[in-house]
């Protein structure tokens, strides 16, 4: 297996894991400060609505991002970790993956809109799954950029 741009791959891997850890919020570390003012919540303050009812909870504290955002970040992290194995599939037409990303993105928008206008009620799990699909399919865009099997 040939690795290209290993420093860039490893740097993104590290950054994505930092994002996921911070997104999990203060509950992961049993922080005693009230969760609305924890630094994790402040860091994502302008990036996510952070509504507690729409977030997963750890140790009695909501995560710093909503369930959909958590799905996106963790899905991207999972996809990034799996890139070496997935590149074995020798998918050369990245255009297909781009189409999948657009499709999943639209699916997420429709789900959010339907819930907002009261057409249906989505759940923590459904939002996480849809977000996860978006994150992981986005990571797959980079298939073949970092790992090549001879």
């Amino acid at each position: 297996m040939q690795i290209r741009q290993p420093i860039l791959y490893a740097s993104i891997l590290l950054l994505v894991f930092v994002v996921v850890l911070v997104a999990m919020g203060g509950g992961l570390f049993n922080q005693s400060t009230p969760w609305p003012v924890q630094w994790q919540h402040q860091s994502f303050n302008s990036l996510c609505h952070q509504i507690a009812d729409r977030s997963f909870w750890i140790s009695g504290q909501p995560m710093a991002v909503c369930s959909r955002c958590m799905g996106i970040y963790s899905g991207f992290a999972l996809g990034w970790v799996l890139l070496p194995m997935l590149s074995l599939m020798k998918i050369t037409r990245v255009a297909y993956i781009k189409k999948i990303v657009v499709f999943v993105l639209l699916f997420n928008l429709i789900d959010a809109a339907g819930n907002f206008f009261g057409l249906w009620q989505n759940t923590l799990v459904s939002r996480t799954v849809l977000g996860g699909m978006l994150g992981s399919s986005t990571a797959l865009i980079f298939i073949g950029d970092f790992f090549q099997h001879n």
Partner: protein, 190 residues
């Protein structure tokens, strides 16, 4: 000339990306600032419900992660302007600078707004206190939450605190969207 030197020369010959970074940073900085302003005034003008989050924040469901797409816009502009191929590393770098630019623009506009409406922070604090007072939390927990939240809201007025919280996340997320942009919008080599 060896391969490394050739690549170096090619990189040096590429046009500067600062215009694209500036445009995308300014646009997304204004969008993020405007959204935070809408949320703040909606909270100030809403009746205290006892909930830590107001229903108007549900609007945020549609704008989650909006500030993370500056990197993609910068790459789109750069690729369209010069019709060149963009390597992933360069996309990440442009995304990083765009993220920094978004954070800086947001901070600058926040500071300007302090002159336009100097009472906004105090009104926001009053609204938050009223909200906590209306909640069904035990009194000691309620007081603890009020004290720490008010302190945090006052701290957020300082430029240093705003940069400390905004720079890393905007930087990282725009690095990712910059790379995605390079993959999607960069002209294929060869």
């Amino acid at each position: 000339m060896d391969e490394v030197a050739e690549q170096q020369a090619e990189q040096n010959n590429q046009p500067p990306y600062w215009t694209s970074v500036g445009i995308a940073g300014l646009i997304f900085g204004i969008i993020v600032f405007a959204l935070s302003l809408v949320t703040s005034y909606a909270m100030i003008n809403s009746e205290p419900t006892g909930s830590l989050f107001s229903p108007v924040q549900l609007l945020g469901v549609f704008v989650c992660l909006v500030g993370a797409f500056g990197g993609m816009l910068a790459i789109w502009h750069y690729a369209n302007e010069y019709d060149i191929s963009i390597k992933l590393g360069k996309g990440a770098l442009i995304g990083l600078f765009t993220g920094i630019c978004i954070a800086l623009v947001t901070v600058v506009f926040n500071q300007i707004w302090q002159f336009i409406d100097p009472d906004m922070t105090q009104k926001l604090i009053d609204s938050t206190i009223a909200n906590f007072e209306a909640s069904e939390l035990p009194d000691d927990t309620k007081q603890q939450m009020i004290d720490s939240t008010v302190q945090s809201m006052r701290d957020q007025n300082s430029i240093g605190t705003q940069l400390l919280y905004n720079l890393p996340m905007y930087g990282i997320l725009n690095v990712l969207t910059g790379m995605i942009g390079a993959k999607v919008f960069g002209k294929k080599e060869g």
